[in-house]
C-alpha cells in the first residue's frame, strides 16, 4: 500500500486540480506520431501498379509501390452490403504478419459485386453498383476518389499522406549481419540509392518516455492515411475526448488522440486521450452524412483541418454573397502505431443510414435489463453491510426510487476481486437478499488487475494456466494497481475469457446472487507505475505486442465479464456490465461512463457532448458520474446534475472516497424534494427509455441525440433523449433562465410540465427556478409513461400506462410501446409486445408491430393525455372484439389538454379510441 500511497500523494499534492499533462505524451513525444506528422502533403511516393490489378466478383486487389524504397503494398477493395466500401492496405510481403483486429466485427461483412467501368494507364474506374457510385483509382500518385454522380464524396491519399512503415530487420541483430554479408554487390548498390529513406530516426527502435523505455523489438511499424471530405464543414465522433460534439481543427495543436488511458483528473476541451477509443468519425452536411471507421486498435492520432476553419460567420457570409467558388472541405488524417490500414467507408447518405451501416459491422447496443435504466446509487465506498442497509432504507424513508446500489473496490478482501471483506461484508447473501426483498439490485466491482498473492485462488489459477500477459522477457507482466503488485490476465485469449466468464458462476463467485451485477473499472488497463499509467507497449499477448491490441483490452474485459453473467444464468438473463475503457463494438456488451470527472459546472456541461459523441458511434448506454467524482459539489450543482442525469441514458451518482457523503437526502428537505422529483421524472419515463433502447438494439440509432436537424444545429447543450423529447437541462450556476432551440419550422413542442405549446424553429427563453428541468415533447409524438412511481422499476412492472399524445400541426401523432419481462433474453424468442400507437383522423389506435411475437401483460391503459387537442363531444373506445364503450374525459380549454379517464384496455391489445 505504501508505494501506492506515495504515488497518490505525489500526484495529488502537486497542487492543482488538473491533470498532470506531463504524465501523458504529446504527438511530439510519441515517436511515430512525430515522424508521421512531419511528412509534407503533396509528396506521395506511392504509385498504383495497375498491371497487378485482380478483380474477382467481390474483391479487387492491386499492388502499390513506394517509389522511394520499392516496398510493395497490397491494396484490397471491397464493396459491402449496405453502401459501405472497405479499403485494406497491408505490406505485400511483411517480414511477419501484421495485426488485424479480431472479435470486433460481428461477422465477416457481406460483399457485393464490383465491376470495372473503364481503365487506362492513369487509373481505373470501378462501379460500386447502386446510385451511380464509382471509385476512381489514380495510379501516380496513388489516390482513391469515391464519387456519386459528379460529386466527390471522399478522397483517400489526395494529400499524399499515405505512409506505411514496413517491418524491417533490426540492423544490429545477428540476422541482419548475415543477410548483409551474403547480399550481392548489386543489392548493396541498389540499397544505397534508397538508403536515405530508411535512415534510422530516433525513436524507431527504442523510445523512452519519462523513466519508461519501450524496447520496440519490431521497430517502426506506423501507418497513416489522409481523407478529404469535400462539402463538409464539420466532423464528429472519435470518442473519447472531453470536448465539444463538433470536433475542432488540430492545425495549431495536437491531433485528437485515441489511446485508452486512466487520466487522473482530466481536463476539458482538449484532444487528450481518455479511457476509451472508438475510431469512427462522422462527416455531416445538409445533403449527406458519411462515416469513416478506421479499424485499428493501436495508439492512434487524428488530425483534422478545414478550409473554413477560422473563418468568421461574416467571412462565410461574404463567401456566399460573392459566390465564392471555394466549397468547404474538411481534411482528416489518421495515424496509427502498428497494424494495417483497414477502413470502412460508410456512405450514408442519411445519419440513420450511417448508424445502420456501422451497426451492420460492429453490432447494435445490447438491450439492457429494464432495471439498469433506473437510478443507480454509487459511492467509493459503501463501507459495510450496515451502511448498505441504511442507505437502502434512506431511499425508502425519503421516498426516492432506485434500482441499484454499488460497491466499489473496498468491498473486497484486500482488493482481491471476486472476494468480500471478511468483516465488513461477512454475509453478502444476506445483504443481497435484503435488496432482493425490495426488488432492488447491486453492482460489485471486478477490475482486471489481479493481486499477486499465492493465497489468492484467482491469481493462482491464472498463473498456473499461463493466462497472464507476459513482459518482453517472457515472464508474467506485473504492475502496480489498487492491490499493490498485480498481474493482468490476457483477455485477448479466448480461453482466458472463457475461464474468466466461468468465475462468475454462483459456485465460483462466493456470495454472489442473481441480483448482483458487475462493474469493470481500470481496464484501459490502468497500471500505476506503467508508462502513461498503462501497460508497457512491449508487453506480450501471445503472438502480438500490447502495442497492437492496446485499445482492445478493455473491450475484451467487458466481453468476458458480460459472458460470465450470461452463463451463470444458463443464458437466460441479460447481463449488466459497466466499463470505463471501450472500443468499437463495446456497445454490444453493456454500459460505459465518462470516468473520473469532477464536481464542477464545466464537467456537468461536457457530459452532454461526451455522451452524444458516444451515441453517434453506437454506444448509447452512456452516463457521467452525477455530482462529479472528484471534489464535492455545491448543493445547486448536485441538484442540477441530477436533473440533467435523469435525462441521460445511464443514470448513476458516484463520489470519491475523500468526499463527504452526498446521498440525495443530505442537503435539506427542499433539495431532497428537488432530487426526488428529478428521479421520479426518470421513473415515469422508463417505458419510453426502454422502448428507445429496444430501438437502439434493433437499429443502432443513438438513444440520446442532438436535435431534429441533427448535428447541424449549432447548440451544444440542447439534447433530446430520443427524437420525441427535447431536453435542455440547466447547466449554469445561478441560472435564471435558459434559451433552448426548438428545431423544426413546421414543428410544435409542448412543455411536458405545463403543457404550454411552442412553435419550432425558434430560440425560446425559458425562465427557470431550482425545480426547472426544461423538457419538451414534440408535436406528432406519443410517449407512454408509468405515473405510479414506486421503490424500484421492478415494483412498477405491472403498473398501468398513461399515454401522452402530442398533436402536430397536421393533428397526427405516432409512438411505440414495447413491453417484455424486462430481464431475460426471451425477447429474442419473440416474447414481447411491440405496438404502434398512432393518432390520425381523430382516432387513436394501437396496432401490433410484431404479429409473430407473444407476450402477455397485466398492464393496462390508465389515462390518455392529449396535448394540443380540441374538445370532443364524446370519446368512444372500441376493443378488438368490436365492443364499444363511452369514456369519460376532461378538457382543459386554457391549455387545450384533453384527459381521457380510465379507458382500461390491456396494453397488449388492439384498440381504437375515437374522438367525435
Amino acid at each position: 500500500m505504501a508505494p501506492l500511497l506515495a504515488l497518490w500523494l505525489a500526484v495529488c499534492l502537486s497542487g492543482t486540480w488538473a491533470v498532470d499533462r506531463g504524465n501523458f505524451k504529446t504527438c511530439e513525444q510519441s515517436a511515430f506520431c512525430k515522424r508521421q506528422r512531419a511528412l509534407k502533403p503533396g509528396e506521395s511516393p506511392y504509385r498504383a501498379l495497375l498491371e497487378t490489378m485482380e478483380l474477382t466478383n467481390t474483391r479487387l486487389t492491386l499492388q502499390l509501390i513506394n517509389d522511394n524504397n520499392k516496398v510493395r503494398l497490397l491494396l484490397e477493395l471491397y464493396r459491402l452490403q449496405g453502401n459501405i466500401t472497405r479499403v485494406k492496405i497491408n505490406e505485400l510481403k511483411p517480414l511477419k504478419p501484421r495485426y488485424e483486429v479480431p472479435d470486433v466485427l460481428i461477422r465477416e461483412p457481406t460483399t457485393e459485386p464490383l465491376s470495372v467501368l473503364s481503365q487506362d494507364e492513369n487509373g481505373v474506374v470501378l462501379s460500386l453498383g447502386v446510385e451511380s457510385q464509382r471509385v476512381i483509382i489514380s495510379a501516380r500518385p496513388f489516390r482513391l476518389d469515391i464519387m456519386e454522380g459528379s460529386d466527390v464524396l471522399m478522397s483517400l491519399n489526395s494529400r499524399g499522406l499515405l505512409a506505411f512503415e514496413h517491418l524491417r530487420m533490426r540492423k544490429d541483430t545477428f540476422s541482419y549481419k548475415v543477410t548483409s554479408t551474403v547480399a550481392s554487390v548489386w543489392d548493396n548498390i541498389k540499397r544505397a540509392t534508397k538508403e536515405e529513406e530508411e535512415k534510422v530516426e530516433e525513436g524507431m527502435w527504442e523510445e523512452t518516455f519519462k523513466s519508461h523505455t519501450d524496447s520496440k523489438p519490431n521497430g517502426p511499424s506506423a501507418i497513416s492515411l489522409d481523407f478529404s471530405l469535400p462539402g463538409v464543414e464539420h466532423v464528429y465522433g472519435i470518442p473519447e475526448h472531453a470536448d465539444t460534439l463538433r470536433l475542432k481543427t488540430t492545425d495549431n495543436g495536437d491531433p485528437y488522440r485515441l489511446y485508452n488511458l486512466d487520466v487522473f483528473q482530466y481536463e476539458l476541451y482538449n484532444p487528450m486521450a481518455l479511457y476509451g477509443a472508438v475510431p469512427v468519425m462522422l462527416a455531416h452536411n445538409a445533403q449527406r452524412t458519411t462515416g469513416i471507421f478506421w479499424f485499428n486498435a493501436a495508439e492512434t492520432w487524428v488530425d483534422i483541418s478545414s478550409n473554413t476553419a477560422g473563418k468568421t460567420v461574416f467571412g462565410k457570409m461574404l463567401d456566399y454573397v460573392q459566390g465564392s467558388s471555394e466549397t468547404p472541405q474538411t481534411d482528416v488524417r489518421w495515424i496509427s502505431e502498428s497494424g494495417i490500414i483497414d477502413v470502412f467507408i460508410m456512405l450514408g447518405p442519411t445519419p440513420k443510414d450511417v448508424f445502420s451501416q456501422y451497426a451492420s459491422l460492429t453490432g447494435t447496443q445490447s438491450f439492457p435489463p429494464l432495471a439498469s435504466l433506473g437510478y443507480h446509487q454509487c459511492r467509493w465506498n459503501y463501507n459495510d453491510q450496515e451502511d448498505v442497509k441504511s442507505v437502502d432504507a434512506g431511499f425508502d424513508e425519503h421516498d426516492i426510487p432506485y434500482d441499484f446500489i454499488w460497491l466499489d473496490i473496498e468491498h473486497t478482501d484486500g482488493k482481491r476481486y471476486f472476494t468480500w471483506d471478511p468483516h465488513k461484508f461477512a454475509n453478502p447473501k444476506e445483504m443481497l437478499q435484503g435488496l432482493m426483498d425490495k426488488k432492488r439490485k447491486m453492482v460489485a466491482i471486478v477490475d482486471p488487475h489481479i493481486k499477486v498473492d499465492s493465497n489468492y485462488k484467482i491469481h493462482n489459477e491464472i498463473r498456473s494456466r499461463g493466462f497472464y500477459v507476459k513482459n518482453k522477457d517472457g515472464g508474467d507482466y506485473e504492475g502496480w494497481c489498487w492491490p499493490g503488485s498485480a498481474g493482468y490476465p490476457d483477455f485477448t485469449r479466448a480461453d482466458m475469457r472463457a475461464w474468466w466468464a466461468s468465475m462468475f458462476a454462483y459456485d465460483q463467485y462466493e456470495g454472489a446472487m442473481e441480483n448482483m451485477y458487475t462493474w469493470n473499472d481500470m481496464n484501459e488497463p490502468s497500471v500505476f507505475n506503467g508508462p502513461e499509467v498503462t501497460m508497457h507497449k512491449d508487453a506480450v499477448h501471445g503472438a502480438w505486442e500490447h502495442r497492437d491490441i492496446h485499445n482492445l483490452y478493455g473491450f475484451y474485459v467487458q466481453m468476458a465479464t458480460a459472458e460470465g453473467l450470461i452463463q451463470r444464468s444458463g443464458g437466460v438473463e441479460r447481463p449488466f456490465v459497466l466499463t470505463r475503457a471501450f472500443f468499437a463494438g463495446s456497445q454490444r456488451l453493456g454500459a460505459v461512463w465518462t470516468g473520473d470527472n469532477a464536481a464542477e459546472w464545466d464537467h456537468l456541461k461536457v457530459s452532454i457532448p461526451m455522451c452524444l459523441s458516444l451515441g453517434l458511434v453506437g454506444i448509447s448506454f452512456c452516463g457521467a458520474d452525477i455530482g462529479g467524482f472528484f471534489k464535492s459539489p455545491s448543493t445547486e450543482l448536485l441538484v442540477r446534475w441530477y436533473q440533467a442525469g435523469a435525462y441521460q441514458p445511464f443514470f448513476r451518482a458516484h463520489a470519491h472516497l475523500d468526499t463527504p457523503r452526498r446521498e440525495p437526502w443530505l442537503f435539506g428537505p427542499e433539495n431532497t424534494a428537488l432530487i426526488r422529483e428529478a428521479v421520479r421524472q426518470r421513473y415515469t419515463l422508463l417505458p419510453y427509455w426502454y422502448q428507445l433502447f429496444y430501438r437502439a438494439y434493433l437499429t443502432g440509432e443513438p438513444v440520446m441525440r442532438h436535435g431534429l436537424k441533427w448535428l447541424s444545429v449549432p447548440l451544444m447543450v440542447n439534447f433530446p433523449s430520443g427524437r420525441d423529447l427535447l431536453v435542455h437541462p440547466v447547466t449554469e450556476e445561478g441560472a435564471r433562465g435558459v434559451t433552448a432551440y426548438l428545431p423544426g419550422k413546421d414543428e410544435v413542442w409542448f412543455d411536458v410540465h405545463t403543457f404550454q405549446k411552442h412553435n419550432g424553429a425558434q430560440n425560446l427563453y425559458i425562465p427557470v427556478t431550482m425545480s426547472s428541468i426544461p423538457v419538451f415533447q414534440r408535436g406528432g409524438s406519443i410517449i407512454p409513461r408509468k405515473l405510479r412511481v414506486r421503490r424500484s422499476s421492478t415494483c412498477m412492472e405491472h403498473d398501468p400506462y398513461t399515454l401522452y399524445v402530442a398533436l402536430n400541426l397536421q393533428r397526427t401523432a405516432e409512438g411505440e410501446l414495447y413491453i417484455d419481462d424486462g430481464h431475460t433474453f426471451n425477447y429474442e424468442k419473440k416474447e414481447f409486445i411491440y405496438r404502434r400507437l398512432s393518432f390520425a383522423n381523430n382516432a387513436l389506435s394501437s396496432v401490433n408491430l410484431a404479429s409473430d411475437a407473444q407476450f402477455t401483460t397485466e398492464s393496462w391503459i390508465e389515462r390518455i393525455i392529449m396535448l394540443g387537442a380540441s374538445k370532443p363531444s364524446k370519446v368512444t373506445l372500441r376493443t378488438a372484439d368490436g365492443q364499444e364503450s363511452q369514456l369519460e374525459f376532461d378538457f382543459d380549454a386554457s391549455m387545450s389538454v384533453l384527459t381521457v379517464r380510465k379507458p382500461g384496455m390491456n396494453a397488449g391489445a388492439d384498440w381504437t379510441v375515437t374522438f367525435q
Binding site: W8, L9, D387, D399, K439, L657, R788, V789, C795, R901
Partner: protein, 418 residues
C-alpha cells in the same frame, strides 16, 4: 369483517373481497357513503363510485386511500397488535410486504404474513427494556450530578487559589516592568550625557566604569527582559507546539513539557530561572480556567467524563474517546491518529447535550482535517457503542451514558401508543 378502528368502504370488487381497511378512524367522516365525494382538499367533487376505483381523481390523492393510483396518496396500515402507520400509496400492491398486517398487498404476487402480533411483542419488550434502562439511567445520572457538583466546587476552589497566585505574580511582573523601564530610561539618559561629553572615544571603558554601580540592576533587568521575552515566546511556542503535536496525534503532556523546560532552566542563572518559571507558571494558570470554562451540562452532569477515556475496537482499529479532550484511532499496526480535539456541543437547542464535536484532528490528504461527531444516548453504562466513518475523515460515534438520559423520554415512552 376485521375488528379494527376503521371502516371499509365501497371500491373495486378486489378490494371489497379482501375487506381492506383504507383509512384511519379520524378520516372516516370524509368517506361516508354519499352520492358524491369531495376531495379532502376541496378541489374537486367526484361521484362516490370513483373512490378507490384505482384511478386518481383528486390532486391530493384523497379519493384513492386504498389503491396505488395517486402519486401523493397514502395508505393506512391498521397493523392491529402493532403500531398503525401510513405508507405512500406507491407501496400498495408493489409485491413488497410493508404493513405487518399484510393489508397493503391485497392484490399482488407477494405472499405476506400477518406479523403484527410478533412485532408488537418484540416492540413491547423493547420499550419495557428501554424504560428500565431509562429509570436506571436517570438514577445513575442523579448520582453523577451530585458527584459533579462536589467536583466542581473543588475545582472552583483550586481555581480561585490559582487565580490569586496569578494575580500576585501579575503585580510583581508589572513592578519589574516598571523598574526595567525606569532603568532603561536612566541608562539612555546616562549614555546620551556621555555621548554629548565625550566624542565617542573611550566610550566603552568609560561607560562600563560609569555604569558599574548600576551593573547588578541592569543585569537583573536584562534577565527580566529576556525572561519576559522568553516567556512570551515559550507561551507562544508551547501553544504552537502543543497544537502541532496534537495535530500529529502525539499529544505531549503539558507537565512533561514543563519538566523539560525545568531541566533547561535549572542549568541557567537562578534569577533567570525564577523569572522563567514565574512566567511559565502564569501561562499555565491562565490556561487552566479555560478548562473549567467547558460547558459540563446544566447540572455539571458531564463533568465526571473529564479525564476519562473510552475505547472500542472496530475491525482493525481501536478508537478512544476522551470526552472534552480528544478522539484518537489506533490501527493494529500501531500508528495513532487524532480524530479531533474537543470542540463543542452541537445538539439542537431542544437537546443541546445530545451531540458533541471534536475538530481539527490529523489533516486529511485531500484537505481539511479529521473530525468526530459523538451522539450521546441513554444507557445504564458509560461506554463507546459504535464508530463509523461515513465519509473519509468524518467519524461518527455512538456514546452511551446515563447522563444522556432525559426525563422527557420517559414521558414520551409513557404516552406511547402501545
Amino acid at each position: 369483517m376485521f375488528d379494527c378502528n376503521c371502516g371499509c368502504i365501497s371500491g373495486p370488487s378486489a378490494l371489497r373481497k379482501v375487506g381492506v381497511c383504507f383509512y384511519f378512524v379520524t378520516d372516516k367522516r370524509f368517506y361516508r357513503e354519499r352520492r358524491s365525494f369531495l376531495c379532502i382538499d376541496g378541489s374537486r367533487m367526484i361521484p362516490f363510485e370513483q373512490v378507490n376505483d384505482d384511478y386518481c381523481d383528486c390532486e391530493d390523492g384523497s379519493d384513492e386511500p386504498g389503491t396505488s393510483a395517486c402519486p401523493r396518496g397514502r395508505f393506512y396500515c391498521t397493523n392491529l397488535g402493532f403500531r398503525p402507520h401510513y405508507i405512500p400509496s406507491s407501496r400498495v400492491n408493489d409485491g413488497i410486504c410493508d404493513c405487518c398486517d399484510a393489508s397493503d398487498e391485497y392484490n399482488s404476487h407477494a405472499h405476506c404474513q400477518n406479523t403484527c402480533w410478533n412485532l408488537g411483542q418484540r416492540e413491547r419488550a423493547y420499550v419495557e427494556g428501554q424504560m428500565r434502562t431509562l429509570d436506571e439511567g436517570l438514577r445513575l445520572k442523579q448520582q453523577l450530578i451530585e458527584e459533579g457538583v462536589l467536583l466542581w466546587r473543588e475545582k472552583q476552589a483550586q481555581l480561585r487559589e490559582l487565580q490569586q497566585v496569578a494575580e500576585d505574580l501579575q503585580v510583581k511582573l508589572e513592578e519589574h516592568r516598571r523598574r526595567k523601564h525606569e532603568a532603561d530610561r536612566l541608562k539612555e539618559q546616562t549614555l546620551k550625557a556621555l555621548e554629548a561629553g565625550n566624542g565617542g572615544k573611550g566610550h566603552a571603558l568609560f561607560s562600563l566604569s560609569h555604569l558599574k554601580p548600576f551593573a547588578h540592576f541592569t543585569k537583573l533587568l536584562q534577565f527580566v527582559d529576556i525572561g519576559n521575552c522568553w516567556c512570551y515566546r515559550t507561551t507562544f511556542i508551547s501553544f504552537q507546539l502543543e497544537l502541532a503535536l496534537l495535530d500529529r496525534g502525539h499529544r505531549m503532556d503539558l507537565t512533561k513539557f514543563q519538566r523539560t523546560l525545568w531541566d533547561v532552566l535549572t542549568r541557567g542563572d537562578t534569577v533567570k530561572v525564577r523569572f522563567h518559571l514565574c512566567f511559565c507558571f502564569l501561562f499555565v494558570i491562565f490556561k487552566k480556567p479555560k478548562k473549567l470554562a467547558i460547558d459540563y451540562g446544566t447540572d455539571w452532569e458531564f463533568l465526571f467524563l473529564n479525564g476519562q477515556c473510552y475505547k472500542l475496537k472496530v475491525y482493525e482499529y481501536t478508537y478512544t474517546l476522551c470526552p472534552f479532550n480528544q478522539v484518537t484511532q489506533r490501527s493494529t499496526a500501531g500508528a495513532e491518529v487524532s480524530l479531533g480535539m474537543w470542540g463543542m456541543w452541537t445538539g439542537k437547542p431542544k437537546n443541546h447535550y445530545s451531540h458533541m464535536v471534536y475538530e481539527n484532528g490529523e489533516p486529511c490528504w485531500q484537505g481539511g482535517s479529521r473530525s468526530t461527531t459523538v451522539t450521546l444516548t441513554c444507557g445504564t453504562e458509560t461506554a463507546l457503542r459504535s464508530v463509523k466513518e461515513p465519509s473519509k475523515c468524518q467519524y461518527i460515534m455512538d456514546f452511551q451514558t446515563p447522563v444522556a438520559c432525559q426525563p422527557v423520554l420517559k414521558q414520551q415512552g409513557i404516552h406511547s401508543e402501545l
